[in-house]
Subunit: 340 residues, 2 copies
Amino acid sequence: MAITQQQWIYAQRPQGTVGPSHYQLHTQPLDTSLAPGEVLIAARYFSVDPYMRIGQSAKATYDPQPHPLGVVQQGGVVAQVLASKASAFASGDWVHCYTGWQTHARVAAAELTLLDSTVAPVTTALGVLGMPGRTAWFGLTEAGRPHAGEVVVVSGAAGAVGSLVLQFAKRHGARVLGIAGGAAKCAWLRDTLGADWAIDYRDHADPDSMGAAIKALTGGVDVYFDNVGGMVTDAVLPLINRRARIVICGQISQYSGGLDTPPPGPRLLHHMLYQRATMQGILARDYVHRMDEMTRIVAPWVRAGEIVFEESIIDGFDQLPSALNALFTGEHRGKLLVKA
Amino acid sequence: MAITQQQWIYAQRPQGTVGPSHYQLHTQPLDTSLAPGEVLIAARYFSVDPYMRIGQSAKATYDPQPHPLGVVQQGGVVAQVLASKASAFASGDWVHCYTGWQTHARVAAAELTLLDSTVAPVTTALGVLGMPGRTAWFGLTEAGRPHAGEVVVVSGAAGAVGSLVLQFAKRHGARVLGIAGGAAKCAWLRDTLGADWAIDYRDHADPDSMGAAIKALTGGVDVYFDNVGGMVTDAVLPLINRRARIVICGQISQYSGGLDTPPPGPRLLHHMLYQRATMQGILARDYVHRMDEMTRIVAPWVRAGEIVFEESIIDGFDQLPSALNALFTGEHRGKLLVKA
């Protein structure tokens, strides 16, 4: 089998926004001869996630070292088996793996997870039944712990994680306010995802204005599920209720340079004291070993069509670096994927 | 019984530091006739606490309304009974109450707690066996949860709460770094309280410098018990270890105006995410009903002389407003009291 492998090599550390200038496209023939236990896969869908930009920070993040330069950009992939020397996999099988931004790869069978396309679309392994779903579910249930009747505020509510948090919180009986950018996204939060309220952060020039709007709608905030940080957090923190839970899931407003050089913002931790609130940082990898707890509950909702898991699919392997850029500047809703 | 009552009336809201200009001294005869169930007390020791300045903030704090103007400054007091029409109290008894900054008062018996001066000095009801001790004990054990071998960093470590947190953390087997202002306080933390390390924040012009010093001593921080906020928090947050616990007990660096108008500081919440840390605000009042849990453990230590609970006693009722000011500018160690 003659295969031409394409790879996006992470070549230069971004200072601000990441994009094509930080990657190099390598094209070469791939040796497709397999050792026992190896599988040849062709990537079909690539995950594009905000966390990728965290790993490009020059400072230590959740990993002690930044993403190395000169190697394939790491990331989750949904692929199909082209050839197999492992008994658990056959040609045509759909799999989930972490082979990153390359069109083809030889992989040890242990690094593959078989997908059942009759249970749910295979792309859900990169979304509602994968890392973003896990982040949303365990972040909300373990750190947010919403009760019926409570107010949950979700920032980045139109994103892959936020759009699921919003729906999961509604299922817990909470009243949910989603914050997103633009009137169209806000309409989607309300009309399609079922948010009780939506706020377009672009309508507000400062946190006092946004805070007044949130206060007028909700009266106060019991759970703040934060994907964004920055001005949105400045607006929400003074509004927390007694024993509020704040989930720090992302701080995307700082990813394009603000992790290396944190920008200033008002000091608001006294509100934690006033309200005896709890803030907890959460990361999807901490819950990998507990995926069965989540899929037991969420997969039936997905099968029954009760969860909206919109996917924005960009066509073409060559689009990957600009797709990553689009996470920080673009208009996509739900999960952003690139189709090979 | 002819008694002249003196009262410090909270008269004007401070913008920055609080002091005598915000109080008025009232002197008047007190009607000492008692109704059944009433007790006449003479205050002997007045508590002076940083939280008093929080209550003077113009914005909502842990109470929805600021401390009202035109009334006696609220606060804890150790007093003696002068006369009693309540069977549980007799002349000469020592009591703890919340009659605030006045020399004498008629009080309903239900508002008094009898003190046993043979168990511990009566002033400990305002310190190690009172509100500051409760704050230190439950803040550390419920929110900080230190393990043997872990690193605990305490800001405001020479204060009433911090000096106890430091010692309680040592008893849990933790390695403890105290942060305080001035070489004398730091020597006291090490030599008298048993801190493994002490840092004088005045030696550091910026958080990077202080952070480098903390990192060099400790390697990283598992529990940060914060009484101060501001630059100290800026120095510590980037040093937290995986699953760190941050206890927000006080933010005294913001009390002299910075609660009404929060000053800017670097946005550092991404470290909560990186390390999957937890931050929790704690307040002494939440644990009043659990004091028996603490005194069961701590009172024997106090009786055995195993806990250092230094008191800085300022003499004279007339000194109260300047004593409150001294909390924010002064050189006292441990618990600050005013003796009537």
